[in-house]
Subunit: 137 residues, 2 copies
DNA sequence: TTACATTGGTTGACAATGTCAACTAAGTTG
DNA sequence: CAACTTAGTTGACATTGTCAACCAATGTAA
């Protein structure tokens, strides 16, 4: 098997597995919304622009996504003292709860994936993935 | 870095690189169309159903995709002697040409990615990816 | 400080992709 | 044969992604 095939096929399998599990949740959030929650929680003083850059998506799309999340009271906007144009995004309590649920699902899928696989091998995989990526940047 | 992050991030980098290159082509085909050409060329006696299953997509979507490709004379439908309900899909000359162009681009991106990386490492990565996937199926 | 360019965000319009359900026609099975 | 399944087609719709215009805040150079 070729590398491209192996990579694409693994990614899609993982992705579909996670989406499948997420559907079981009572949540009415789309995968993109959940992904955004995750990124917002990870990025320090996250703004819309940072989120768009990090996710590699159009700012229009991100903006609508944020609006929806704020609407559902999962994300809170607070004004940015450093820059009057932007606002800082952070998770509300509810947002944190949702994210926790999602993280559990993701972790569970990865745990299944790594069943009976030695940790060094996983380490090696990560290292290789990063080497590969490094060559493209 | 965690495995999930490494995997997702590598995938997206590769994907974006390929899309970026494809846009340089004079082609007005979308990534999905190109992917379909690729799969059609790979699968023996490919039918719509096989294509949908292989790509893990809805048959409605695949059907419209095929219609478009046939429209653009990149794919040819021939009636299936084995089964009167389905038709066999194959690439036309033009379709083959397009696919070749795409394959060149994909290969180029992967070659860049694997620059100065030992072949055994790549082999190992493929092997690990398959092990991982195996655990999810 | 003013003039100009840049940046962050917002919106409209639209394109591309993905999903669900209903339906026809051909095949399969008891 | 009747009941069921499968391949394909279509309509309607949801989600995701893109492009361009615009405003207000910021940065910068003369």
């Amino acid at each position: 098997m070729e590398l491209n095939e192996a990579l694409f096929s693994l990614f899609h399998t993982v992705r579909n597995k996670i989406i499948e599990q997420v559907k079981q949740m009572d949540s009415d959030l789309s995968p993109m919304h959940l992904k955004s929650l995750k990124v917002i929680s990870k990025i320090e003083d996250c703004t819309g622009q940072k989120l768009a850059t990090f996710m590699g998506r159009d700012k229009a799309q991100i903006n609508r996504l944020i609006k929806e999340l704020v609407n559902q009271e999962l994300v809170i906007k607070t004004s940015n003292k450093e820059d009057g144009r932007s606002q800082i995004l952070s998770l509300s309590g509810r947002g944190t709860q949702y994210l926790d649920k999602f993280n559990k699902i993701e972790k569970q899928v990865f745990d299944t994936m790594l069943k009976d696989i030695e940790p060094q091998k996983v380490e090696l995989f990560i290292q290789l993935a990063n080497e590969f990526k490094g060559n493209l940047q």
